[in-house]
């Protein structure tokens, strides 16, 4: 995994475009050339609430090109509601890019990207990087219902083969996205972002296949930059991502808690002990 970026900064940006991709699914494009330039696939920002009335919100950087960096998010509460109300020309300050991001140069040809729900926001840049590097990418993308499968054309245009699933069968295959992954041809590597149960299943499948998998974890953050230890996950003690901490023995191996925001959010599936 790449080490955390030292070019992170507070960026004062302006909203260039606001797209509502589905009811409650917002994509804000920001005028943020330095952020766009510094961001690697899988990184995120902490969006500072314009009202200053709530904690900052962690949002994946969905697109980063030229002067434009986009944030894609679902409206799930007060904090994301406030961001959803921003309009073109409004100011938004963001801290980032943060986190380690995906390691996309791994020299494999057949890659599966697995995205669940808002996890799609973390994988577009990843798909671009892998395809640019010569990989064939299948995107396994699951959502509750057809309307929440957003921006699929973007991924098709990028060159991904799409395998869509919905919980209610309103589009693609009915069922979990991980069921579709298991039914499909075995990939050489998996990149995934989505809810924790989905990621656990992806990790199990990767283990069974004996293949490399990188998982971008979703969690409620406190500070989002490593200062509060509010978001942790167990990793093996000799992981390159293990923070300086005396390991504890659990389930027969040495584990330490790593901060999802700081040492992650992307972890190798075989190094997690969750």
């Amino acid at each position: 995994m790449p080490t955390p970026d030292r070019t992170a900064a507070v960026h004062a940006t302006t909203v260039l475009e606001r797209r509502e991709l589905a009811s409650g699914v917002i994509c804000l494009s920001l005028d943020a050339p330095l952020l766009a330039d510094a961001t690697r696939p899988g990184q995120y920002v902490m969006a500072i609430p314009p009202s200053a009335q709530t904690a900052a919100t962690a949002l994946a950087v969905y697109e980063a090109e030229g002067k434009r960096a986009s944030l894609l998010f679902f409206v799930t509460g007060k904090r994301t509601q406030e961001l959803a109300e921003l309009r073109c020309g409004d100011r938004l300050d963001v801290v980032g890019p943060l986190g380690n991001g995906f390691q996309c140069k791994i020299n494999v040809r057949d890659v599966a990207i697995v995205a669940g729900g808002v996890g799609i926001a973390s994988v577009l840049l990843c798909a671009h990087a892998l395809i640019r590097d010569g990989a064939r990418v299948r995107l396994f993308y699951g959502a509750r219902t057809a309307a929440l499968l957003v921006d699929t054309q973007r991924f098709a245009d990028a060159g991904c083969d799409l395998i869509l699933t919905t919980d209610d069968g309103s589009a693609g295959e009915r069922g979990f996205v991980t069921d579709a992954l298991e039914r499909a041809r075995k990939p050489e590597a998996i990149y995934a972002c989505g809810p924790t149960p989905m990621l656990r299943t992806v990790a199990r499948i990767a283990t069974e296949y004996g293949i490399h998998a990188q998982l971008a974890l979703e969690e409620t953050f406190g500070c989002g930059i490593g200062g509060c230890w509010g978001c942790v996950v167990s990793v093996i003690g000799d992981s390159a991502q293990a923070p300086s901490f005396p390991p504890a023995v659990r389930g027969g191996s040495d584990v330490v808690y790593a901060r999802i925001c700081r040492e992650g959010p992307v972890f190798r599936a075989d190094e997690l002990r969750w």
């Binding site: 904690a55 953050f221 930059i225």
Partner: protein, 320 residues
């Protein structure tokens, strides 16, 4: 009006600070995490995360829940333990451009004394805060801060090990915070940090379970600010040692409330999670405020809102 730039310098025991702003323990990491986004030269001191004698993994996840006007946390004093900390962590902090305050947590009087002695002996640390009020460790942590007698024992024991400035962090989860404050002062505390988080809980109504793995947590943020301001106001009248006011400070106005209520310094915690530029902004605006009010320094406003306690209007002849 004074024409010189007002001074923001303040003093806690022997600890001289260029700015009256501390970064709350457990809210600012080691400072390194925030350094890309904040000028550490413009803050008074960082109170580091609490250290215990032995390593602690901390609580399971979830550890954070965002709530109206604040958040609940239950980290559970995750730390690598004293020996690891002294050997591998503290040396990394030596080059910070601001002062560092070590924070001590424990489960016995002896723990507090031992960890205080070992930390205070280190040149990287300018002062020690005794965290006798962590609400998130099963049964013991907060016990010390909730009992005036135990508070006295812990402070006395820690005091006997060092001459460095000793700040005692008080819990709001008590009936009479002044009783605890007086005991801490009598036992040798140089300053009091008022307040730690307020105990709270949130419930997931779909899963039918508490939202924090630890069940209860500590509430911070603006939701607790009025509780904290009153605690500072009351404690300021109960003791003579300086107070570090804290609890939901986000703006210069919030900070001023604490100074006027009786705090000689303030501590910023959860607001750093909203915007890491807040501490620097508060310092700049404090300076502007003092200049506008013709004050030469921050000490000119400490406790200036103190009117004692109001007497209720009464009907004639009503003794109650």
């Amino acid at each position: 009006m004074v024409n010189v730039r007002p001074s923001l310098a303040t003093k806690l025991g022997q600890l001289q600070l260029p700015y009256p702003t501390l970064m709350g323990s457990g809210c600012y990491g080691t400072g390194e995490e925030f350094a890309p986004f904040a000028d550490l030269r413009k803050i008074g001191a960082i109170v580091l995360k609490s250290v215990t004698r032995l390593p602690r993994l901390g609580n399971p996840m979830p550890r954070i829940v965002h709530t109206p006007a604040g958040m609940l946390n239950a980290i559970g004093l995750q730390n690598p333990g004293l020996e690891w900390y002294l050997e591998r962590e503290l040396p990394k902090y030596a080059q910070r451009p601001c002062k560092l305050i070590g924070s001590v947590a424990g489960f016995s009087v002896d723990d507090y004394a031992y960890v205080t002695e070992r930390l205070a002996a280190r040149s990287e640390l300018a002062a020690i805060e005794l965290n006798i009020s962590c609400p998130n460790v099963a049964s013991e942590g907060e016990t010390f801060g909730c009992d005036p007698g135990l508070t006295a024992s812990v402070v006395r024991a820690a005091r006997s090990t060092t001459d460095k400035t000793l700040i005692v962090k008080l819990s709001p989860n008590v009936t009479d915070i002044c009783a605890v404050a007086r005991e801490a002062e009598a036992a040798g505390a140089d300053a009091l940090a008022v307040i730690n988080t307020v105990r709270g809980m949130a419930v997931d109504v779909e899963a039918w379970r508490p939202r924090l793995a630890n069940v209860s947590g500590g509430l911070s943020g603006p939701a607790i600010r009025p509780i904290a301001v009153l605690a500072v106001y009351e404690v300021a009248q109960a003791v003579k040692i300086p107070i570090v006011g804290q609890g939901g400070i986000e703006t210069v106005t919030d900070a001023l409330e604490f100074f006027l209520a009786g705090a000689s310094a303030i501590s910023i915690g959860t607001a750093n999670f909203t915007d890491p530029r807040i501490p620097e902004r508060i310092v700049a605006e404090l300076e502007t405020y003092l200049a506008r009010r013709g004050c030469a320094g921050i000490e000119a406003i400490v406790g200036k809102a103190n009117l004692g306690f109001a007497t209720p209007h009464q009907y004639e002849g009503d003794e109650g």
